[in-house]
């Protein structure tokens, strides 16, 4: 039996092993994680600080007439209705599709699973562009809800499907043995376990609804964000837009509080023993099968059929003239570059906060997480203008550089990475990390080899979502990118602004093609759980 540890650690304890804080975070790892989380969260407070700063500058006397007026009430009603109608529809659709593709013998369920992820490849404003081309009279709240559901339901489908795959089947067996009918098993045992996925996904959809500009601008539906954008266009940096942004920030705070309350404090890591068996598959009768297939076909027609047919129409109408390689190629390259760098940066930045949120949930962690959510729920233009103001005044060298663009992406898209990473880490019990440490791996190595490997499907899903978001990002890129930079999204927007729908089509097609392999990767990665 060795009397000293390998590597010469003898009876004296090196000074770097001095005692730290007790509690859940004894040791060096904890302090690092908390430090990084705080740093990232402080960074994400930049746009909020900007909004508060300009509010103070504006003064209370000037704020009152800007906020308490019928126009604001009208925008508030529009925004609230949009959220309240769209989110439940998205949850129901996401849940139905996830159950059909993960837990039934629906014919071609693997293909349908892929198709349910595919609408993510179509930018929200391209969905809008497609519907406006198809039904020019489409407008208002019904149109807003329809296109929002179509564009955003995969944000719920993906986490729900991933969680359904990883639930312990023994829990359902036990429920059934306790006399529950299959539907009761679903509602009393399966559904509660999906809470984390549903809450996370719903929050993501909600934040999109609050922040999206292009989708609603095209169908002439006024939300806070479109109003702020219009204000900015007319007065650039005026107090009216800033005050609207403050109200929007309050809306986001309310949504965060609701999600936090709904999420609860229950433990979601697997508590059963050993490793899981494969999931059971429900055999559908042919009537149910037909119904399921009809839902899949209908969803695909709306979410993929309409945009592709419209695009096809414009591409045929435009012919070969609209394909300008010396304009399209640089835009494609630029988009790829921004997307890849942004996705890696954002996912890495999300790791400390996601880890804290599962392993050491508490008030500090909720505050940190909220910082990031609030920022990302602000419209891209607010984040962008905050960065413009700050870089001009305090960091001139990085004004109008790629770094600033990436910073904007980080601030705006961190929750996409965070929500998925968090759901992934919830699947890796802390006990496995402890075992790895007892086998001689440092806390950092244990985190890397065990928790992050198990959370990899979640992390990959998060990174892919960030990449997609960047591919489709418009406003912040327009404002912050170095002169002469043109991505596919900004190119597309330039063309549609000139009402040249045919010339915009190649950009839209490239954006979709670029995002498609990624949705495939998303689908594949989320399937590769636990060594299967």
């Amino acid at each position: 039996m060795p009397e000293t540890l390998p590597g010469g650690v003898a009876t004296a304890i090196p000074s770097n092993l001095r005692r730290r804080s007790r509690g859940a975070f004894a040791g060096r790892g904890g302090a690092w994680v908390i430090g990084l989380s705080v740093l990232i969260s402080l960074l994400s407070l930049l746009p909020i600080a900007f909004v508060i700063g300009v509010s103070i500058q504006t003064g209370w006397a000037a704020i009152v007439p800007l906020v308490f007026r019928p126009r604001v009430a009208e925008l508030l009603i529009n925004t609230v209705l949009l959220v309240v109608i769209t989110i439940p529809l998205c949850i129901m659709l996401g849940l139905a599709l996830a159950w059909l593709t993960e837990r039934t013998n629906l014919p071609g369920r693997r293909g349908w699973a892929l198709l349910a992820t595919a609408p993510l490849a179509v930018p929200a404003f391209v969905h809008s562009y497609a519907w406006v081309s198809l039904v020019p009279s489409i407008h208002g709240l019904p149109a807003g809800v329809l296109i929002s559901v179509i564009a955003y339901f995969p944000f719920l489908y993906l986490p729900i499907a991933a969680t359904l795959r990883r639930l312990d089947p023994a829990i359902e067996d036990v429920a059934e043995s306790l006399g529950l009918k299959p539907w009761a098993v679903f509602f009393r045992v399966v559904l509660p376990q999906l809470r984390l996925a549903i809450c996370g996904g719903a929050l993501l959809v909600g934040l999109h609804l609050l922040a999206e500009y292009g989708l609603y601008a095209m169908i002439r539906f006024d939300t806070f964000t479109t109003a702020i954008f219009d204000q900015f266009k007319s007065t650039f940096n005026g107090p009216a837009a800033n005050m609207l942004a403050s109200v929007l920030a309050l809306c986001c705070l309310a949504m965060l509080t609701a999600e936090s309350a709904a999420r609860g404090t229950a433990r979601y890591a697997r508590v059963g023993s050993g490793s899981a068996r494969t999931q059971r598959v429900v055999r559908l009768y042919w009537e149910a099968k037909m119904l399921g297939l009809a839902l899949q076909v209908f969803t695909c027609a709306m979410a993929l059929g309409v945009p592709l047919i419209t695009l096809g129409k414009w591409l045929i109408a435009g012919g070969s003239e609209v394909w300008q390689p010396d304009e399209l190629m640089p835009a494609l390259q630029q988009t790829l570059q921004f997307g890849a760098m942004g996705a890696v940066l954002t996912t890495c930045a999300a790791i400390p906060i996601a880890w804290l949120s599962i392993r050491s949930p508490g008030r500090l962690q909720r505050i940190l997480e909220s910082c990031n959510y609030i920022t990302s729920s602000l419209p891209g233009i607010v984040v962008a203008l905050a960065l413009v103001t700050v870089t001009i005044h305090f960091a001139r060298p990085i004004y109008q550089t790629t770094l600033t663009v990436l910073l904007a992406y980080l601030l705006m898209f961190l929750p996409r990475a965070l929500v998925n990473l968090r759901a992934g880490i919830a699947q890796a019990p802390v006990e496995l990390e402890n075992i790895a440490r007892s086998l001689g791996r440092s806390p950092g190595r244990a985190l890397w080899l065990i928790t992050l490997r198990l959370a990899a499907p979640g992390a990959a899903a998060g990174a892919a979502l960030v990449f997609l978001a960047i591919t489709n990002e418009l406003t912040a890129t327009l404002l912050l990118a170095p002169n002469g930079t043109r991505t596919l999204a900004t190119g597309f927007w330039a063309m549609t602004s000139e009402i040249d729908y045919a010339a915009a089509a190649p950009y839209a097609l490239l954006m979709i093609l670029l995002s498609l392999p990624l949705t495939g990767l998303l689908y594949h990665q989320s399937k590769r759980t636990a060594g299967r």
Binding site: I13, A436, L439, G440, R441, A530, G531
Partner: protein, 356 residues
């Protein structure tokens, strides 16, 4: 020589005291079992030794190296202490071979050779190397977890109820295999369990925990025969406890006159006997004996090779029922039926509890 030393280890979670002043010495190469009911703090203590948690105060050292004291702490990954939890906790994203090889620092062919050796030592077939954890039975998962912990040649092995998820037959066999394997490897071992028969059979040294305190430790047979108090006595097995008057090495009680192990004169005390120290003899119509006492069998619980009888004692002089019921173990096949009159005699000493 002692491998592990615990001095005055205490730990609280908020107002809840999880551990209070734990002192324990674990001799090198021995098998120590920490036994106690659920919530007694035994798992917390084990996790503290592993380095997953840290005490509020106290000192912990292994082979002379201080692992934790007031100013320093060695993190889990530098302790070289193996840990096998209740459910094995295999890494679900790694094969059996990768799980076992996780803690090995060697690479390539040597690593594979070592993995094969380890699999052989825990009686796992070599063909299982490429299986996934979810394809193994509970017993196989435990073997992999054990091999994984043994791979790094730990200075100390911690087992947290590793057999409790297994079925009874397998549990006994696994326990023997693990005990032999660890003795052969000369690894100092600490096992935590709430199962007293498992504790008694596995241990060289037994430590009983209750309510965050270590109430007694020592050789299993000593603890079984001479527990400090009634609770410990009952936790380690069935016991007959009754009041007695102690006089010149003899206890006078409902069972008559019984020799005791410790002398105290004219003292009222509680005495304890294990059921297997009581013997029943069917009595003749006219008894002439003076030692022991008469009783009637009121219940008979037959369970194959043994039989548990409940007897009601009769007053030694008047012959009235004293009302005291005792359980007595006997051979299954020859036990007297309910209703029979019997004579109860005792073997060996009764144990006198010290006054609390």
């Amino acid at each position: 020589m002692n491998a592990l030393e615990l001095y005055a280890i205490s730990k609280s979670y908020g107002d809840q005291k999880a551990l209070e002043g734990i002192n324990l010495s674990v001799p090198a190469g021995s098998r120590t079992v920490i036994v106690g009911p659920s919530g007694s703090g035994k798992t917390t203590l084990l996790r503290m030794i592993a380095g997953f948690e840290f005490p509020d105060s106290g000192r912990l050292s292994l082979n002379g190296q201080t692992l934790v004291d007031a100013t320093h702490e060695v993190p889990a990954h530098q302790r070289l202490i193996g840990y096998v939890p209740q459910d094995g906790a295999l890494f679900p994203h790694m094969t059996v071979a990768a799980n076992i090889g996780f803690g090995l620092s060697v690479k390539g062919g040597e690593k594979n050779h070592r993995i094969a050796e380890l699999m052989d030592s825990v009686a796992l077939d070599a063909s299982m190397a490429h299986r996934w954890p979810h394809e193994l039975s509970g017993g196989q998962q435990q073997r992999v977890a054990l091999a994984r912990a043994l791979a790094q040649q730990p200075r100390l092995m911690l087992l947290d109820e590793p057999f409790s998820a297994l079925d009874t037959g397998l549990r006994g066999a696994m326990r023997k295999m693990v005990a032999r394997l660890l003795s052969d490897a000369g690894v100092t071992t600490i096992l935590v369990t709430h199962d007293q028969s498992e504790a008694l059979s596995f241990a060289d040294q037994l430590a009983v925990m209750r309510g965050g305190r270590l109430v007694q430790s020592g050789h299993p047979l000593d603890l079984y025969r001479y527990p400090d108090d009634e609770q410990t006595a009952l936790f380690l097995g069935d016991a007959v406890v009754m009041p007695a008057k102690i006089e010149a090495g003899w206890a006078h009680c409902d069972l008559g006159r019984i020799p005791v192990n410790n002398h105290r004169n004219n003292h009222s005390a509680q005495i304890m006997l294990r059921p297997e120290q009581l013997q029943l003899v069917s009595i003749q119509p006219s008894p002439t004996e003076v030692v022991g006492c008469r009783a009637v069998v009121t219940d008979r619980d037959f369970s194959g090779n043994t039989c548990t009888l409940t007897v009601e004692l009769q007053h030694p002089t008047s012959g009235d029922k004293s009302g005291r019921s005792l359980t007595v173990r006997g051979s299954g096949m020859y036990a007297p039926p309910a209703g029979s009159a019997v004579h109860v005699s005792t073997i060996g000493h009764a144990h006198v509890f010290s006054e609390s």
